[in-house]
């Protein structure tokens, strides 16, 4: 069937999309999963999970994410990016696994889509207010229905001329208007949809719906009697995967290529500022709970901030910044020089502090501004109805800062104000004293707090692999005084790392674009697999098990104890 790809067609009535429902629509043989998120955004996606081809319309609408029925994969509102693969809870999906999305507009009580839109859904003259009629499916091809409507007299209706051939307009004997539009569902099925140009309610609405239901059913019967419906094979159209999804992911330097504008700047407390960042043109990439972004500040400084968004909040990014009076300057610039409307360069989200959702219960321990990645995690856990508790150690003047973020799960949050170090230790001890099967600890805050929490956890018998943490910064002193060789297994290169330079620097100088972020051994973005050689770890990202394993390193700070390292890049 040849139809202009730039034409808009309706695929659903708005009433087909009640709260947390997924509607199955079809246009030109392609099936769609159509769903409205809790923020009102309507998504039109290819009706097929990328993993094993199961219809997404049999999955569940979780409010801001759609969950596949087969393996529980979750896809974010708007971007359709996969946010979670339960079979591998430790992996934030490394590649951007993204379903096919289609343009969507809401007009005349219907949801419209178009393959390659030029402009918006056209206006239909005389329909400022309207009643949406019940659609009637017809076992006949689009062109048969069209020819029929063009040639047939409809009783008590007079056809009006219209520029858009897709919209038939009729005037009733009483002077009201009817407009009909055909949705070509597949080769042999069309759906006749209509609107009536008066807003009706109550019994009047019932009368109009009943009248047009019977009129359109008569039209259907006539069309179907003229054209015998052909049996046809159900072969829905399926898009192929993008090349990068079927191949090994390549590394590329996509640093700081997103442009956002500051749409909100709010003081959450005396010391904490929240920024809301909106994309200027493109859709923002999908993020996973625990992710951070790099922000390029006006003086060239680059700083990392965790996203505090809940799952599927894909129309903006939120960060919270603590203003350090004597800090490195990043927070000062944000507090003093950045205002609403400013344009900023940011990186796509990196995630090296992923949320493992395969535990029966998570204990979150947050110190001060270390709460930020945990806001996003707690929101994700809450939306999946998983069990957790959040303990926030803070100063009393900051205690109200995040109450808005906690609003939907206040019963799971305990805030401790102005505890001394000893009081904090006692509290952490009482929280961690009973390790349970499949429970996990997440901790983020000042270095000392993390070290203490790990120590206490291990003393009480927690597995090291069940304690997850993220440092803000690496407070260890880093030496750069060794010289060694690195061999790149997949790039077939051999390079010399002299004293005074990092592995990461040498890689970049030689055109190997490894993605990096904090460059001080805290965030884990630049980690690579090591095939051979003894690593001199200097980071605070890997845990001691991973360090002993000797097969992964952070290239920004770690070096070699042996003469040579073979890296898997």
């Amino acid at each position: 069937m040849k139809l202009a790809l730039s034409k808009w067609f309706p695929v659903a009535s708005i009433s087909d999309l009640p709260y947390r429902h997924i509607f199955q629509g079809q246009l030109l043989g392609r099936e769609y999963a159509i769903w409205k998120a809790d923020d009102g955004n309507i998504n039109i996606w290819e009706n097929r999970c990328l993993h094993r081809g199961v219809r997404l319309s049999i999955g569940t609408n979780e409010g801001f994410e759609l969950k596949c029925q087969y393996h529980g994969w979750r896809y974010a509102n708007r971007t359709a990016g996969c946010t979670y693969i339960p079979a591998h809870p430790a992996d934030a999906p490394a590649r951007t696994i993204c379903n096919n999305t289609y343009t969507c507009q809401e007009k005349y009580g219907m949801v419209w889509t178009c393959e390659t839109p030029i402009g918006d859904v056209p206006d239909i003259k005389g329909f400022k207010s309207f009643t949406v009629l019940r659609p009637i499916p017809i076992n006949s091809a689009y062109k048969n229905v069209r020819n029929f409507l063009s040639s047939k007299e409809i009783p008590d209706h007079h056809m009006l001329r219209s520029k858009q051939t897709e919209f038939w307009r009729f005037k009733t004997n009483a002077g009201n208007l009817l407009s009909l539009v055909i949705q070509p569902q597949s080769g042999n099925i069309s759906i006749l949809r209509g609107i009536y140009n008066l807003k009706t309610t109550g019994t009047e609405k019932l009368r109009v719906l009943k009248y047009y239901n019977s009129l359109m059913t008569k039209l259907r019967d006539e069309i179907e009697s003229q054209h015998l419906p052909k049996l046809h094979e159900r072969n829905p159209k399926i898009s192929k995967l993008a090349d990068d999804l079927s191949q090994f992911p390549t590394l590329s330097d996509q640093k700081h290529n997103l442009r956002v504008s500051v749409s909100e700047k709010v003081k959450l407390s005396d010391n904490i500022v929240k920024l809301k960042l909106k994309s200027i043109k493109k859709q923002l990439p999908t993020f996973h709970a625990g992710a951070h972004i790099d922000i390029v500040l006006q003086n060239g400084l680059i700083r990392q901030y965790s996203l505090t968004n809940g799952p599927g909040e894909t129309d903006h990014y939120c960060i919270a910044v603590k203003i350090e009076k004597h800090g490195g300057g990043g927070s000062k610039i944000i507090s003093e020089n950045i205002s609403v409307g400013d344009i900023m360069a940011i990186s796509a989200p990196h995630n090296s502090f992923p949320l493992l959702r395969n535990s029966t219960h998570i204990i979150f321990l947050a110190g001060g501004i270390g709460i930020t990645p945990m806001l996003s995690m707690a929101k994700a856990m809450h939306s999946m109805r998983q069990s957790f508790e959040l303990h926030h150690f803070t100063k009393s003047n900051d205690k109200e800062a995040f109450s808005h973020d906690f609003a939907s799960f206040t019963n799971k949050v305990i805030t401790y104000n102005d505890l001394s170090i000893n009081q904090s230790l006692t509290t952490i001890k009482s929280l961690l004293k009973k390790p349970k099967f499949s429970n996990k600890i997440y901790v983020c805050g000042p270095g000392e707090m993390i070290q203490n929490a790990i120590k206490i956890g291990l003393e009480f018998g927690w597995n090291e692999s069940d304690i997850h943490y993220e440092y803000f910064k690496n407070e260890n002193e880093i030496h750069k005084n060794s010289t060694f060789k690195i061999d790149l297994a997949r790039s077939a290169m051999s390079l010399e790392v002299p004293s005074g330079k990092s592995v990461l620097q040498i890689l970049k100088e030689n055109g190997v674009n490894l993605v990096s972020s904090c460059e001080q051994g805290a965030c884990g973005t630049c980690k690579v697999r090591v095939i051979e050689g003894k690593i001199d770890h200097q980071d605070v990202f890997l845990n001691s098990l991973e360090k002993e394993g000797q097969n992964i390193m952070l290239t920004c700070v770690s070096r070699a104890k042996s003469k040579r390292l073979i890296l898997d890049i």
């Binding site: 693969i85 399926i238 029966t360 499949s438």
Partner: protein, 297 residues
């Protein structure tokens, strides 16, 4: 509408299960479909089995085999032997045919679903799996060259009710065998005897490219449970899989690596797709366009 005629010699030359011998006990004659061909089978009073194409008025007999509780036949030239399944003949085991299920999907998709552990918490919630215990740990997949079969070993998955007697969940060990393009056997530790394993079978009869009859059975060490309860359990499990299978698109199994996104948990299904590609199977699958097979795991 004319039925397509199957010309794929890979599938024609296989042995195909068409009925459990239990079902033939009570019938003098039954008909079924195999590769779009109507087939009649009969067991005479001497206990001998006969199979022929229903449209063939001369009733030329098709080759038959009785094995593992099933009657097998072929529309081509089948190999002398069927795959081995020694556990079936161990005297202290019970062999229970747990039912045949008609499913509107290809044989390949049915086998893949049988091999898949990742769906347990979502499709068999509370029975074979349960959120948040969703992780599929690394396991090994190999192709045994002497028997030409795929073997997935060291598979582990958290099961809410590991055994009838235990109230707690536990990790359960699984081994999967794919000894035939449309048959698979799953072994899992027996709750009665820790050293031995129960076997669960699925033998798929391709009715057409997109319709199957899935024959299921259990070969277990359990002298307590009634046959009825064992059947009910298996029917519950399959009843949960059927609507998922019937909502998969395309219905044929795509062998092209660009068709679907695999993850590490899908190692066995990747091996299975590659194995089918190498055999040159075209029936019930969408062959790879570029002959560029999957990356070696």
């Amino acid at each position: 509408m004319h039925a397509e005629i199957c010309e794929d010699t890979v599938i024609l030359n296989q042995w195909h299960p068409i009925s459990s011998t239990d079902d033939l006990k009570n019938h003098k004659q039954i008909t079924t479909m195999l590769l779009e061909e109507k087939i009649t089978c009969k067991k005479n009073s001497n206990g001998k089995y006969f199979v022929w194409k229903s449209i063939d008025i001369k009733k030329k007999l098709l080759p038959i085999k009785i094995a593992y509780g099933y009657l097998w036949t072929s529309l081509g030239t089948p190999p002398t032997d069927l795959f081995s399944f020694p556990e079936f003949y161990e005297i202290d085991r019970r062999n229970v045919a747990t039912g045949v299920f008609g499913v509107n999907i290809s044989a390949g998709r049915t086998i893949e679903n049988f091999l898949d552990m990742g769906h347990f918490p979502f499709v068999h919630t509370g029975v074979l799996g349960e959120e948040p215990h969703t992780e599929v740990k690394e396991y090994d997949v190999s192709i045994c060259e002497t028997n030409d079969e795929i073997l997935a070993t060291k598979c582990q998955f958290y099961q809410p009710q590991a055994a009838v007697i235990s109230s707690k969940g536990a990790e359960v060990d699984y081994i999967y065998r794919i000894p035939h393009i449309n048959c698979a056997i799953l072994y899992k530790s027996s709750p009665v005897d820790k050293k031995r394993q129960d076997a669960i079978i699925i033998f798929v009869q391709p009715v057409s490219q997109e319709i199957v009859r899935a024959h299921t059975g259990m070969c277990i060490i359990d002298d307590k449970s009634a046959d009825k309860d064992i059947r009910l359990f298996q029917q519950t499990i399959f009843g949960q899989d059927k609507p998922i299978l019937e909502n998969q698109f395309p219905k044929k199994l795509p062998l092209d690596s660009r068709a679907e996104t695999p993850i590490r948990a899908d190692k066995s299904s990747i091996a299975y797709r590659r194995w089918l590609s190498q055999k040159g199977l075209t029936y019930g699958v969408i062959p790879s366009e570029d002959n560029n097979l999957f990356e070696v795991m």
